[in-house]
């Protein structure tokens, strides 16, 4: 075939293999759930109630991951920074004994500047490590965790006055491992009470989450959202078109960090207890795992992935220990199984993504090749 009568390139026909690779993760999870639910012997109402609670508790956090993905920065492991900011807000609110919705709002107000500052820091660091955003934000999470501990464990009650002795360790400074958030416990969830049969629905939390979803939908339509999509797909082209690449990337991370801060506050108001030194860590890992289980990839994620992921991940979370006990006679196996799955799923998703990226690159090269060797 000569160059002259070459027709338009065919639409890329995606093989069964690549289709399977795209949906491998959710499919695996649906299979696991189908096997594990009957094994666990839980009643349907129990499962539904648990799921409703967990959707309300976790969705906001997971949603905060979407914007950096849109900007091509991958999974924002740095969302733990936002979670820490939220916890700092909650510690102060508990100390000042501000209760109810005002407490939550105040915690958010305190958390916001901290989250913005951390987000700017994170964005600037990631701009210096382009192409390595995930591992860098991951390590940054650990690093800031150290700084957070320095503040919370040593400075609070020493340099930073904390008046409520119930929060402070017996040695006189540093915050206790677990803080009971009695003042704000479930205030958002119970703001608008709704009971269907024996199932309670946290309506207000769902409204907040819905508002967030609309925010994301709106954001995608803005010029800023469009710029982020452009940067996410090709940074060099976006740059030559005059889009301020670095600044936009920082904005993406700041938005994500601030939202993660709010997400963590919503999460903890439902839990009712703040594990001062662990809560944020788990927030990051579980949110990322859930998003990936929902079928998102490192470069593409939507609101649908968030909710599918929340349901599948937490279904597994609820049933795994019981199923493990019933199957193996040992609940511990189920515990480890879900830890394994959380990490394994992230590993799998990252591998699939890297594979796909290399495959796409090879394909792009082939399309440049022209008809060489086919004559």
């Amino acid at each position: 075939m000569s160059r002259l009568d070459r027709g338009p390139d065919k639409k890329r026909n995606r093989g069964v293999g690549s289709l399977l690779a795209d949906y491998a993760v959710p499919v695996i999870f649906i299979v696991i759930s189908v096997v594990a639910i009957p094994l666990s012997d839980f009643s349907a109402t129990y499962l539904i109630q648990e799921l409703l609670v967990r959707i309300g508790r976790n969705s906001f956090l997971i949603l905060s991951l979407l914007i950096p993905i849109m900007a091509g920065m991958g999974l924002n492991f740095g969302m733990v920074l936002g979670a820490m900011a939220g916890q700092i807000g909650l510690i102060f609110v508990s100390d000042w004994a501000v209760v109810g919705i005002p407490g939550i709002v105040l915690a958010m107000i305190i958390g916001t500047p901290v989250a913005v500052a951390l987000g700017i820091l994170c964005g600037e660091v990631l701009n210096r490590a382009k192409g390595q955003e995930m591992v860098t934000s991951y390590i940054l999470g650990f690093f800031i965790n150290g700084v957070y501990q320095l503040f919370v464990l040593y400075f609070m009650g020493w340099l930073i006055p904390i008046s409520n002795p119930a929060l402070v360790l017996s040695r006189g400074h540093g915050i206790r491992n677990a803080i009971s958030l009695t003042g704000i416990r479930m205030v958002l969830d119970r703001l608008i009470p709704l009971q269907v049969g024996t199932v309670t629905i946290p309506v207000a939390t769902y409204l907040v989450i819905a508002a967030f979803c609309f925010f994301i939908l709106w954001f995608r339509k803005t010029k800023l959202g469009q710029d982020m999509r452009a940067i996410g797909q090709d940074m060099a082209v976006a740059d030559s078109a005059g889009i301020p690449v670095n600044r936009t990337r920082v904005i993406a991370i700041v938005i994500s960090t601030v939202l993660a801060c709010y997400g963590q506050i919503i999460f903890l108001q439902n839990m009712g207890t703040l594990n001062t030194y662990n809560s944020h860590d788990q927030a990051g890992m579980f949110s990322i795992a859930a998003l990936l289980i929902g079928g998102a990839s490192v470069s593409r994620a939507g609101i649908g992935n968030v909710f599918l992921g929340v349901v599948l991940f937490h279904l597994m979370f609820i049933v795994a220990p019981k199923a493990g006990r019933n199957l193996m006679g040992e609940a511990q196996i189920g515990e480890y199984f879900r830890v394994f799955v959380s990490y394994g799923i992230i590993a799998l998703a990252l591998v699939l993504h890297a594979w796909k990226r290399l495959r796409d690159r090879a394909e792009a090269r082939r399309s440049l090749r022209g008809p060489a060797g086919k004559e």
Binding site: D9, K223, Q226, A238, R369, A372
Partner: protein, 541 residues
Amino acid sequence: MPEVPLLKLENIGKEYFGNRVLADVSFSLNRGEILGLVGENGAGKSTLMNILFGMPVISGTGGYEGNIVLDGEVIRFGSPFDALAAGIGMVHQEFSLIPGFSAAENILLNREELNKSLLETVFSERLNTLDRPGMRARAARAIKTLGVDIGVDTIAAEMPVGYKQFIEIAREIDRTRTRVLVLDEPTAVLTETEARILLDALRKLADGGIAIIFISHRLQEIKSLCDRILVLRDGNVIRDSDARSASIRDIAAWMVGRNVEEDRPVRAGTISDEVALSVRDLWVDMPGETVRNAAFDVHKGEIFGIGGLAGQGKLGIPNGIMGLYPAGGTVSLFGREVELNKPRKALDRGMAFVSEDRRGVGLLLGERIDWNITFTGMQVQNRFLKGLPLLGNLVRLRDDDAIAAESEQYIKSLEIRCTGPAQRAVELSGGNQQKVCLAKAFSMRPELLLICEPTRGIDVGAKELVLNTLRRYNEEYGTTILITSSELEELRSVCDRVAIVGEGKIAGILPAISPAERFGLLMMGDVEDEGAQKEAVTGNA
């Protein structure tokens, strides 16, 4: 018709690190005029356009001489954005489209239509939502100006290559201020039909008052489209002529220029009748340098040149033979076939390679010079190793003394300027790095030496030395050498025969002493007639 020219370049000159690439270039361009800019690679076309477009590479290397006058006003752009704002649009050879965006989104990239909202006043207008229908209409208008039919919602990644080119041009047209449009080889990736549509579209644009600078190596296109032709050679304007009056043959001769027969040294080496390298039906999948179907023979002891314009596939040939890029076809060395796609096989058969990508492929920049020189010899021929007596010579270690000794020898004979074999390659100048690459190849004691762009990016003195070294090496050891270069003059001065590659095929093979314009015509896509080609392939001229 007394008219102030829209764009006027006055005595433009440019030096890169003491290396003059443009001298005293002047021309003017009127509204609605199409100027064809032609010249070999390295003639200064890109530099000229970079200056016009305010590319940072120019200001970063000391600016330029002379003045650019746009609409009667002297301008000096600090960045491409200034140039865009002043109404100069440029369509590059590489596509700059966002793959997942639609045609409309790409055309209006960063110039989107926005819905007004209150948030704009509070934050910035980036928080306004996009006016999709408005964008579609604007994009459709720009596409329509070109006279093509492309859906505004087509995703860039799914477009045929030709469409992408049109989208790029539409993007420039959409800028309301665009007055001068520069197109760098816009037809290189198009089919003939697409190219014709594009040329018609450009004519239409020009009729609408936009001035166009059209860079192409397809002289037929230049002749049929342009009003005037500007020929550049070695940074000078050779000819500024009316397009209608110049014949294609004239243009080719202007481009290639000088005859070098006089200063050609007498060859001392002997060329045997034996065929050293035989290439048939070779295709190579090297990005940007695709080889489609190449066939030629190189005789033992011969210096064989491969020339042609950038992007036509000349670099693909040696890279494919060495197995560095996916390739197919038959390559035989002294009658025995060489397995392709495995560099090791080519090296085992006594071929050595000097890459055109010196910093990317040719050197271990962060390592010592002597490592660079001896690495291939060690890996392929197991030289520069010594047994460890304690372990019965089973474990063989690097012999650092032998490595240093071998390197010292080449540092001396090639006059590599360095502090010693231990200096890191990255600290050397371009010319000396190239010598290290040559030393690496020589150290293999090859039967066949393949060298790509031996003098790219090195200064004049070093150029001479490198070429002389090659010639001497050929004469002393009778080594067969295959040189690939963008500089035709260089090939004609050292080679016995020169093949010109066009569109991935051998357009023709000529003795190096053939008149320059014959080479020029080959480069411009005039394939030698069948008989001559057959004869040339086997070298029985």
